[in-house]
Every structure is written in structure tokens, then in C-alpha cells.
Symmetry: C2
Subunit: 404 residues, 2 copies
């Protein structure tokens, strides 16, 4: 029940980034559910986290530890360690200590991540017991296994890789992600882990990641819910032969563009695997007065249950789209300046149905699995995109029947 | 498919307010679809309208005409005259002229209202042809027929009446409303018409209505969508024997409380008839720092598809409620101060599941048709309520299959 073919790519190793997975028995399946990532000593690491005020225990710990030059990431699926109070915080810390003991390192250099059921205590003994096994599997070639180990209700593993040439030397960026609802049916979260062999200082890496996330993961929505555990990490081992990437250089711009591209692709894969999704909708808002205004209009459309159910029904229902634009909270919007397109078919012009629009033309677009909805506001030059999926019976089914 | 028994009450006449309905053939059913309301000469009239930037043509005209001491309201169901551009505006004006001609009055004293399909031209000839018939039926006893004439996909007519004693004289407030989604599946709108025999100046009546709407109709949500045609009107004929209601009097407070009460009941009836609704959810937010903050938290919960599908499944899923509170955008919220109750069962305390909570107790509440969810934020004294309904297969069915 995902949109499109989504084959896992062949992902090259990133020198200095090793991954190890094991089945720690957290999920009661035969699948690996614990992932350890170890970075080379001089690697830098950036991360951004959920804006949800009630972030989960591992997010709190990871935020604290991020400033200590992290060396290890420990990710478990099956339990989110969210809504678990002080106990959850202590449990997350205990898993960091286990990694440190095994690695002969410091616990405050370990970033913990959890995804899975909310509100149940993390089976901390199982996680700790799994750590040595994950260590023993550490290898630079394990991206595929890593992508599978972090899955919860995802229907396919998600990976993206891109290689660019900087000053004649190859630099690779790998990324994996998981998540099939902004919040899963209690499966707290979207997680994404990227790694590169580029050499780049932490502050620059952090600002590069923050900008990329804003334009990618923060531009997708399945149901408008923001998880308690969302996190995206970018590690840079510095082992490429390319020279260090510095601010305001053309190399930085090329690197940042590639990070953004990888993030966008990973984000799109999450929407393609959206709960119950049958269609991928790309909402493009043009001619806005500002980026913020464009995003606001795009997200209002993307969150509208009426728009999403219409797309599920392949119904070119422009009235619902127009009404959503109108209630987006943009001041002094002029109805007659607004145009709406389904792919290249103009459906609304001057505030009403376009003269040359035909139901047949609209229906032809709506019958596709991937549709671009373009809104031209006629107010300015700003342009932004939001990605979402439709709202189907299966969305209700998945979310209503999850606990039963 | 509505929540609860919702019988239409016996509604007494309001002296000076006459209602007439007819079948103008707009809806192609045998039901009346045109309602005319005539006010006594000295009546005052207040109205509030949708905040959607793209309001429908009749809303534009009604806003213009409101300042001219309106005498007549003309309401049609079956066609919303929305997304119809300049033509729609001229059509709405034309219907006002028809009423004026029949009444020997002024067109700019007629307020037009439309509800029904978006984006199709109003069948203006049918509406005009129906006007004489509606005039011939004008009668103070027609509240029941009026409530039925404004229905679109509503499954029951909605009416509320309350009588209070002011200075020893009876004052009655009647109200009718329609709407089964914030926006119907293209059935633009929530409409509500209230009338009283109280004597009260227009500016005071307007501020009384605006406050009441803010606390009632603006506190309900079915799907978060705001229609292009929403309107609420309060007419005061001034024919009660009670003295004029003036500002800052105890009589005003009593009157305003009753207007609010009638509005709240009418709003609740709309939620009970929400598309696909199987449960009525009363979201009570307590201990907020401000009313605005309380409403923001309440609406975030009420709009969450994850919360709504959990209620459809009778699943006491506190993790989803807590996550919605966390992403409501309230600064410096402290997780451990938050408590959540299902009716009188405490389910969350100190950021996690309450020690004394049992699944059996939670399940008992969730199996009810009406549930109060109370969120105590532990931040202040403010308190607000939001009403909503659950999200069922039928919501998707109704909205996905409407045009097919």
C-alpha cells in the first residue's frame, strides 16, 4: 500500500561510518530492531529534533549529548520510550552507558534514538543485552540492514545515495529514513540518518542540515501530526580526499544542495509509504509574497481532510482546494487573482472554474498515482512545495484498528 | 448516522418575525429549498460571517446590506453561489431585487444566503420565481419548516428555543442551524438564524452575537475546514413587553447568556450531525495561561486525525492526545505538569500514564457515545471548551464518494 515502486538502492560505504544491527527482541519479530552507528574519531555530527514540546526521553538525552562530539548512535525500533517520564530518561541514559562500556568511550558521546510504541517502558535490559551483538556486526557495508532495522510499520526500507565531485575528489552522502505517518499509529516517529565522508566543521554541518530539513522533512505531511521522537542526523567522517568544506565556498553550496536533495528524496519516500496512501500529491504554491506564506497555503491544503478524501476518490474537486486556500490565514488575498492547476490543466482562473477546463481533462490527471497541484496566488514571487498523500479508508483502518 | 436523539423542539412564534418556505426546484427534490424571513419594521439585525478569505457572493452582498437596517432574509439551499465570480455577485443582487419588488421595499435591505454545491451558477430564475410563493407563506409559526428548508446533507433539522423573564416579561430566543461538516462535501456551509422579540439596539445586538459566536460556533470543528458561506444572524423584533435591553445592565447579561446558550446548543447539534460521526467529543482545556492558549490546545486535539480515528475505535489512546497537546505550539509547556482525563478517569499524570489508571476504566468511558476529554495544563486559570466528533470510515466514504 505504497505509492510507486520504491526499490532500495545499492548504497556505497562511507569511510569512517560503520553500522551494526542485531535482533534485541524488542519487537518480538525475527527482524533486527537495534542499530548501532560508530563514527571515526574526527567525524563531526549535526542533528535536528522534533518541535513537539513533549519530546521523548531519548530526544532529551540526544540533545544534551550532541555538544560532546558524539561518536556513537544507538537506535532501537519497537519502543519509542515516549511518555515514560523520568524513568524513560534514566533508561535512555543507561543504554548510552552500555554502549560506552562496550566501546571504552564516554556515555555522553552516545546519541540514543527510539521509535515504536508510545507510553510503555523501554525494555532496557534487552537493549543493553543487544549492544555487544550490534558492536560485533559493525561494518561500513551495512546500510541496507540499517534501513531495515529502524522500520516499524514501514512497508519498505528507505535509502538514498548521491556522490558529487569536489575539487576532483568524490564525496558521497548516504541517507536512510523511516516513518509512515508523521506520527505512526503510536509508532512515534520519523527518523533519518545521513552520513558523508566530507570534511566539514560541526557548526557549518549543523546549519547545512537545519536548512535542508526545513526544505525537505518539514515540507511533508501525512496527517499533520508531529511526533514526539522526530530526529534527523548528519554525520561527516572527514575521510574523503576532498579538502575541507568551508563557509561561503562553491564547494559548500554544492555539498549543501546535495544534502538537500538527499533529504528531499528521503522525505518523499516517507510520504510514498504514508499510512493508507494511494496517491502522492505535490502541492506547489507560486506567486506568494513570502516563503512563509507559500508554506502556509501549501500546508493548509495538504492538511485538509476534504481535499485528501477528494484525491483518494480521484475527484478533481477544485472547490475544496480553493476553500482551503481561502482559510489559510493569508491577509488581503484576492480571489480573482488565484489560479489552480492539476499538473498542466488549469482548473481555476479568476476565482471560478476556468473557461477552457473540461471534466475529462481534470479526470485524466486525477486518475494518476502522482499529481502536482499548483496554486498561483498572484501576489508575489515566492515559491514553495509541500508533499503529502491522500486520505483513504485504509488510513482510518490503520489508525482505528492499530491497538485492537 | 448522528450522535444521540435529536428531536426538533416545539418552537413558539417570535412576534414580528415571519417565515415562509417554498420548493423553488433548486435541489430537484420535493423538499422546500427556499426560505424567506421578514422582520417587523423596527427590528434590529446582527450578523457574523465566515473568516474564509474567499467568501461566497451572497456573503459579500449580505455584508454590504447589513448596514441598511435589513428587513428580509432570503436563504436558498442546493446551491452555494460560491466560486462563481462576478456573475455570482450579480445573481445574488438579482434575488434581492426580486424580494424588494415583491415586498415593495429596498433591495439593499435584503440579506441573501446560499448553501449547497460550490462552483455552479445559482439558478437565479428559479430562485426569483420562488420568491412570491415564499412571501405567500409568511407566518410566525413556521420555524420547523424553516429549519428543514435550509438543510442540505443534514440528517435532522436543528432548532433550539429558550425563554427568559426580563423585568417580569417573557423574552424568547429561537434559533435554527444547518451544516454537517465545517464545509459540507462541497455543501458550503454552516448557517444559523436566531430571532428574539427582545428590544435591543443594533450595535449592542451585534456585539452580543459576535461574542456568542466566538464561544459557540467558533468552538466546534468537524474537519477543520472553514466554509466560504458560513453565517449566523440574530434578529430582534422588539415586540416583547420587556423594556429595551441596554449595555451593562443585568438584563443584558441575562440576555447575552441566553443567546450564548442557544448558540452553543445549535453548534452542538451541528457536531452531532457531523459527517460520519459516531461519537461526540467535548475537549475541555483547563489551567491554561490564556483563553487563546486553551483554544489552541483544544483545536489541535480536535483536528488531529490520529485522535479522531482512535475515538472512532473506542481506543483510550492517551499517547496521541498527549502528542497533540505537545505540538499545539504553546511555549514552555512542562510535560510533567499535564494531566489528561477521560470523563472522570485520570489517564495521564506527570507526563506518563497515571499509576491508578486501568485499561478497563478507560475502556468503559470510551465505549460511551459522548465523551469529555479534560486536559489540565498546570499553567494558569484559563478554561475553554471545543466540541468535535470522531473520524470514521463513513467520513471518508461521504467525502470521497460525494461527486460520484
Amino acid at each position: 500500500m505504497a505509492v510507486g515502486q520504491n526499490e532500495f538502492p545499492t548504497m556505497p560505504p562511507i569511510p569512517g561510518i560503520k553500522l551494526g544491527t542485531t535482533n534485541a527482541g524488542i519487537k518480538q519479530t525475527v527482524r533486527d530492531d537495534l542499530l548501532l552507528i560508530a563514527m571515526a574519531e574526527k567525524a563531526t555530527c549535526a542533528a535536528v529534533f522534533t518541535k513537539n514540546a513533549f519530546c521523548a526521553a531519548p530526544v532529551l538525552v540526544a540533545k544534551e549529548h550532541l555538544k560532546n562530539k558524539p561518536r556513537w548512535l544507538l537506535i532501537n525500533s519497537g519502543n519509542a520510550n515516549a511518555g515514560t517520564g523520568l524513568q524513560g530518561y534514566e533508561d535512555a541514559k543507561a543504554t548510552c552507558h552500555q554502549v560506552a562500556a562496550e566501546a571504552d568511550g564516554k556515555a555522553n558521546q552516545v546519541l540514543p534514538f527510539s521509535t515504536g510504541v508510545i507510553g510503555q517502558r523501554l525494555p532496557v535490559d534487552k537493549v543493553k543485552a543487544g549492544v555487544p551483538g550490534a558492536f560485533s556486526k559493525l561494518n561500513e557495508d551495512n546500510w541496507d540492514k540499517a534501513a531495515r532495522a529502524i522500520m516499524t510499520t514501514d512497508t519498505f526500507p528507505k535509502g538514498v545515495t548521491q556522490t558529487i565531485m569536489l575539487d576532483g575528489h568524490a564525496v558521497t552522502i548516504n541517507g536512510i529514513s523511516k516513518g509512515a505517518g508523521m506520527i505512526q499509529p503510536d509508532m512515534a516517529t520519523m527518523l533519518a540518518f545521513l552520513a558523508t565522508d566530507a570534511k566539514i566543521a560541526q557548526p557549518l554541518l549543523q546549519s547545512c542540515l537545519a536548512k535542508a530539513v526545513e526544505q525537505s522533512f518539514n515540507r511533508i505531511t501525512v496527517d499533520g501530526d508531529t511526533s514526539t521522537n522526530d530526529a534527523c542526523v548528519l554525520m561527516a567522517s572527514g575521510l574523503s580526499l576532498a579538502p575541507e568544506i568551508t563557509e561561503n565556498s562553491s564547494q559548500y553550496q554544492q555539498f549543501a544542495d546535495t544534502v538537500l536533495s538527499v533529504c528531499k528524496q528521503l522525505a518523499e519516500l516517507i510520504v510514498r509509504d504514508g499510512e493508507g496512501a494511494t496517491k502522492l500529491m505535490r502541492i506547489v504554491v507560486e506567486q506568494a509574497q513570502s516563503d512563509e506564506e507559500a508554506v502556509r497555503v501549501g500546508k493548509t491544503i495538504a492538511h485538509s481532510p476534504l481535499v485528501k478524501t477528494a484525491f483518494f476518490a480521484s475527484d478533481p474537486n477544485w472547490g475544496r482546494i480553493l476553500a482551503a486556500v481561502g482559510r489559510a490565514g493569508v491577509a488581503y488575498m484576492v480571489l480573482t487573482d488565484v489560479q489552480i492547476y492539476l499538473d498542466d490543466v488549469c482548473i481555476v482562473r479568476s476565482g471560478g472554474v476556468a473557461n477552457d477546463y473540461t471534466e475529462a481533462a481534470g479526470q485524466r490527471v486525477m486518475d494518476q498515482e502522482e499529481i502536482t497541484v499548483t496554486i498561483k496566488l498572484g501576489r508575489g514571487q515566492a515559491y514553495q512545495e509541500v508533499l503529502t498523500c491522500d486520505f483513504s479508508y485504509d488510513y482510518v483502518k490503520i489508525n482505528a484498528e492499530y491497538r485492537t
